[in-house]
Symmetry: C2
Subunit: 396 residues, 2 copies
């Protein structure tokens, strides 16, 4: 399958921001100078934080919200939504919005950060490459990214990265300033930089080290998704945001552009940096629910979806907080598979972002939240219960 | 007029990003933490640079472009546009698009940086406050911003700031790293920060000093517009982007949100940070052309437009590069008045951004460019000729 592929390991390292331009250019140092300004003046938000100047006032443009519909019968639902810091909730059954809720001040057309739900979007993008024979997940990462040879990821297979069974020294403690996850935040522009930080995500990933015992234990590690995004870039020759648009987002029938945060080199923060509307995000769940088809259009193969939902090896995740909530659960192709007899599965991001898919009732629930804590066992337990209650009420 | 106003000088200094929140919060340091994450997760682009993930591919969504229409008869027009680094050109006559041109790869629905055309948008926003009796331009700046007492701006009148006759020590040399204009760029997030830079634009403005001889000489100084934006905030209690939306942008019939870059405190870069589409920008010119009315809606008073177009004191600008191109020209309420018998006037930004208004032919020309140089006498001369040729061709 791979013999037809271009020799990735000798390909120029990174796609350029500017069609035909040099990799990594322009930068914050030179975007105002010729010739970089030709492209940069149309893409200032890639260099400098921006705020909208709305062309319609929110009170004039706010779209009608369906409301809770038959979910209104669920005891204490609004209280449960409020107490779980819900910003937006959209419930879709059989492809139609059945209920939705937005807290005061949240616009149905406004985007919200997905955190690690972004990972599941990357997993689907990878799936489209596998479908097209452009990527063999059993090959090693350094086959696709020569710069990662010798790093924690170089001798892991792409499948191991997808399932997060790579043996990597990476502290995912969101509240420890000395952790790798906070260092990666700084490199991504999410926190103020420190002088010793690597210049960009590529350099950060290349510097990660590990023990080489891949495929044995599930180790949740955000950096893996950025490795996948780098593979997407090398295979498609496109920047990651453009590849996601072309292979996935533009095929879902979404109403709005998504957006993704970019680092100093313009690399998208694939593991957690996507924002989109709650309504658009339900389409990702619908794609999974309907075996890779949405509104009659095949986006990813049924085989990819089936293999994802089937789950990985539950043994690999034994003893994790995840399994204390979902005994027999596993992480597969960047999705969480509960292992429950319901057959439900989900995407999740810290502080309460979810796509929950319940095949039995043909229901997709998207919940975007702003919990005070990044993640706790209790929050996860409470939300599994909430989503199953919602699916049962909608599906009954 | 001002006796009905709240006591600005004792008002809390800066409007909060978050309704009901603390001024200046959240920051890059804490946006991910509760309670800041409630607002920040819906506004990540205000903290971290972002790229779009398009929901429609450009080849599918590109709108039809009218083309050059009767302008096609102008000799060498396309060559002149190409040689002057045109990204977008839209010509409107009597409220209807008569011609447009986009260079390859530029999307009519894409935004483009306006640079100092942003100033003219600020001038109109100020005009709406004067119209409503909320601002007296003859009062001193420190009446509206107590923090600026003792700075270069404190004892200047608002009108002097509008007309840029404030005596301020400010080097507007865009290519000199030691200039104030580059320092302000760094504070605004447009260039990498230096350790000694003030934390935000408010602090930067407060630190500016001058000679106190206001009203005598025209001194082009970008910082003045940010002083005006700060006044807009103090009077409206809104953040500058929201005030511009509410008082101007949302009333023009625009098709798209504009966007503005924000500094570490969330303060909009009023003097140069707005991006919008070329088509939307023509509406600002139409508003001026039709004495403050657009599509039947009064946005700013005819009196404000009249006083703007009438111009300031040409003597104040004698000897400037501007007058070498436009003898008898002046700067008034953040617009450039040519002083020509044609009665034409314009907004301009470095690297070639223009709104050109020609009352005689009832034509508005918007040109967005990416010149290699920030500004030269020759570029200005060449563009005045180009716009007058275009207006004559359209109006004949």
């Amino acid at each position: 399958m791979t013999s037809l592929l271009p020799p990735h390991s000798t390909r120029a390292a990174h796609p350029s921001r500017v069609p035909g331009g040099s990799a990594g250019e322009p930068t914050l140092e030179n975007w105002q100078d010729a010739p970089h300004n030709r492209w940069a003046f149309g893409h200032v938000a890639e260099f400098v934080p921006t705020a909208p100047i709305a062309h319609r006032l929110s009170e004039e443009s706010a779209r009608p919200v369906l409301g809770l519909g038959r979910l209104a019968a669920l005891p204490r639902l609004v209280e449960r939504l409020e107490q779980s810091y819900t910003d937006a909730l959209v419930v879709v059954r059989d492809g139609t919005i059945a209920a939705e809720y937005y807290r005061d001040g949240v616009d149905p057309d406004g985007v919200h950060l997905l955190m690690s739900v972004s990972k599941s979007i990357c997993g689907l993008t990878i799936g489209t490459l596998v479908d097209d024979g452009l990527l063999d997940p059993e090959l090693r990462v350094d086959h696709y990214i020569s710069e990662l040879a010798g790093s924690a990821y170089g001798d892991a297979t792409v499948q191991q990265v997808l399932d997060m069974t790579v043996d990597v020294d990476y502290d995912e403690d969101y509240r420890n300033p000395a952790s790798e996850v906070q260092a990666q935040d700084r490199v991504a522009g999410w926190r103020p930089r420190l002088p010793e930080d690597p210049p960009d995500t590529y350099a950060f990933l290349t510097a990660l080290r590990g023990g080489g015992r891949h495929g044995e234990r599930f180790r949740y590690c955000s950096a893996g998704t950025d490795v996948l995004a780098w593979i997407v870039e090398n295979i498609t020759g496109l920047r990651y945001p453009d590849a996601v648009s072309r292979r996935l987002w533009s095929k879902l029938g979404c109403e709005h552009d998504a957006q993704i945060t970019v680092d100093a080199r313009g690399f998208g923060f694939a593991n957690g940096g996507i924002s989109c509307t709650a309504r658009d995000l339900t389409r990702v769940g619908r794609l999974m629910l309907d075996d890779g088809v949405i509104e009659g259009r095949r986006v990813v193969s049924a085989e990819w979806v089936r293999r994802t939902i089937q789950g990985g090896n539950p043994e690999a995740a034994s003893g994790t907080i995840f399994q204390r909530v979902h005994a027999g659960g596993s992480y597969s192709n960047q999705w969480w598979i509960t292992g429950s007899s319901r057959g439900d599965y989900y995407a999740v991001g810290i502080h309460g972002q979810f796509i929950w898919v319940d095949p039995r009732t043909r229901t997709v629930v998207v919940k975007l939240s702003s919990w005070p804590e990044p993640v706790t066992e209790e929050w996860n337990r409470l939300h599994a219960r909430l989503f199953r209650d919602i699916c049962d009420a909608i599906g009954s």
